[in-house]
Amino acid sequence: MAEGGVARFWREIPQRYNLIGNKCGSCGRVFFPPRESCPYCRRKSIGKMKELKLSGKGEIVTYTIIHAGPENFKEQVPYPIAIIELEEGPRLTAQIVDCDIDDVKIGMKVKSTFRRIQEDGYTGAIYYGYKFKPLK
């Protein structure tokens, strides 16, 4: 997964660390990750996409428990991965943490939390980003 060097990860820091999405100035729809143009308004949205920091609050739409994980995640298995619908509208994919695996359910309210996502072996870069935990 670490193919492409450090710049590939560095350029996604605003989105992955701070949930920076954007909003279409034409129809008002919100996107995460930010889009170059709105797929609903297309040319009408060019130059009208405005940055927007998302609240990080949302609800689980669906989930799985990963038992066979990729190399950089081997030490984390089993771990839950979910699709979360944020309260501003966009959906994203993230790990669910700080709860028992058996407690993860469709409809569960969650909020984002800043965590270590994966690391490149013993000496490589450590990559950070969002995971989600139950909203209590």
Partner: protein
């Protein structure tokens, strides 16, 4: 638009083929199809090759030229193009070949599909397959490829009451069919308990809900339908070709349980063929995971949304059911050499419509459908074929 016919088919054995190289597999499938069609090399106008990730699996790109070379056509300089759309690479290659004849540009085209997946270890194979997903926004966060289909399954079970037993029945059925296919990777039946008790991969999917890692190649010869008689009396017509796209990531889709790319590709194909889902006699669908076959029979319009699990349970899709699905054994049992799969599906439908499917022959098969998906549903092709 000209009508297009399949005049020859060829397959290698699917499986862990340690003694066969990438180029040997492609040459073997290609020469079988060419012999089956009764054409000569000088009659071939163009070649199209589907391969998902030769670069990661065998460290070799530029496989359009490689395949032409390995097949002995480099000295006659036949144009050869590689097509990529993840696990739908084969279906896309078929469509490119089809379009090039329908347009009038070519008369005879060879289409191949190839993947040599066992020259890398299991981890590398899994991570290569995950490149079909969104690397930055799915895989980076630890989502695996089975994990994405598992999330479709979780939601399908939640919304429609689909059960793990119904998922397992897809695998049981496809292994029963694969047991009758001499080219299949796993030519044996399995029990429901085996599927249900298998090692967990990504809840709710276990190992036997997943298609395997496979080496294999498939090839077909396409020809302008009005010229097919010059070569063979076993031609089968391709009467429609549909293709559609959707968001790369699963979380971007309108509905988690519906592959809109399938819905739209099917709509395009049914319209071109002037047929409805009821007119289809049998189908090869993209069962990379058991849940994928359930979604496919719904999204292709064979059953209502949400009724796919029940349809499998009621044995509608078995070899002797009212709509046999994956008579070849499907990706689950026949094997899934990703770039070859979309072409191999056309081979199976052609054999069925020719009456050459031997022990798994469906009686009175006149119209068949092939459905090939890339990634978790970002690309889809649907082809409809008719016996001549």
């Amino acid at each position: 638009m000209r009508d297009v016919a399949v005049i020859g088919v060829g397959l290698t054995k699917f499986g862990e083929l340690w003694d066969k190289s990438f180029r040997q597999l492609t040459a073997e499938a290609g020469s079988k199809a060419i012999f089956d069609a009764g054409i000569e090399g000088k009659e071939i106008d163009a070649m199209y090759v589907g391969s998902m990730s030769s670069g990661r699996f065998v460290g070799q790109e530029h496989v359009g030229a490689l395949v032409a070379d390995a097949s002995g056509f480099s000295h006659v300089h036949i144009p050869s193009t590689r097509v990529e759309g993840a696990c739908a690479s084969g279906g896309l290659a078929v469509r490119e070949g089809y379009l090039s004849i329908a347009s009038g540009m070519n008369d005879v085209v060879v289409v191949g599909g190839i993947e040599k997946m066992n020259d890398v270890g299991g981890n590398a194979a899994t991570e290569t397959l995950a490149t079909a997903a969104d690397q930055e926004w799915e895989a980076f966060f630890g989502a695996t490829f089975p994990g994405l289909y598992a999330m479709i399954a979780t939601r399908h079970m939640h919304d429609y009451g689909t059960t793990k037993e119904q998922l397992a029945q897809v695998a049981v059925k496809n292994h029963a069919n694969g047991a009758l296919n001499p080219y299949a990777q796993y030519q044996r039946e399995i029990k429901l308990e085996t599927v249900l008790n298998a090692t967990a991969v990504a809840y709710p999917l276990g190992l036997f809900d997943c298609s395997p890692v496979t080496d294999g190649a498939a090839s077909i010869v396409l020809c302008a339908a009005d010229k097919a008689k010059e070569y063979t009396d076993k031609a089968v017509k391709i009467i429609a070709s549909g293709q559609a796209s959707d968001t790369l990531s699963l979380h971007g889709r309108r509905d988690i349980c519906t592959l809109d790319s399938t819905v739209y590709a099917a709509k395009m194909a049914y319209k071109q063929a002037n047929l409805t889902p009821r007119d289809i006699d049998l189908a090869e669908v993209h069962d990379c995971f058991t849940i994928a076959e359930i979604c496919a029979i719904e999204d292709l319009g064979f059953v209502e949304k949400g009724q796919g699990g029940k349809a499998v349970e009621n044995k509608i899709t078995t070899l002797d059911g009212s709509l046999p699905v994956n008579t070849s054994g499907g990706l689950k049992s026949k094997g899934h050499p990703v770039g070859a799969t979309g072409v191999a599906q056309i081979v199976e439908i052609a054999l069925q419509l020719r009456g050459d499917a031997e022990k798994r022959q469906v009686n009175d098969a006149k119209i068949g459908l092939a459905h090939n998906v890339g990634g978790s549903g970002a690309t889809c092709t649907v082809h409809i074929m008719e016996a001549v």
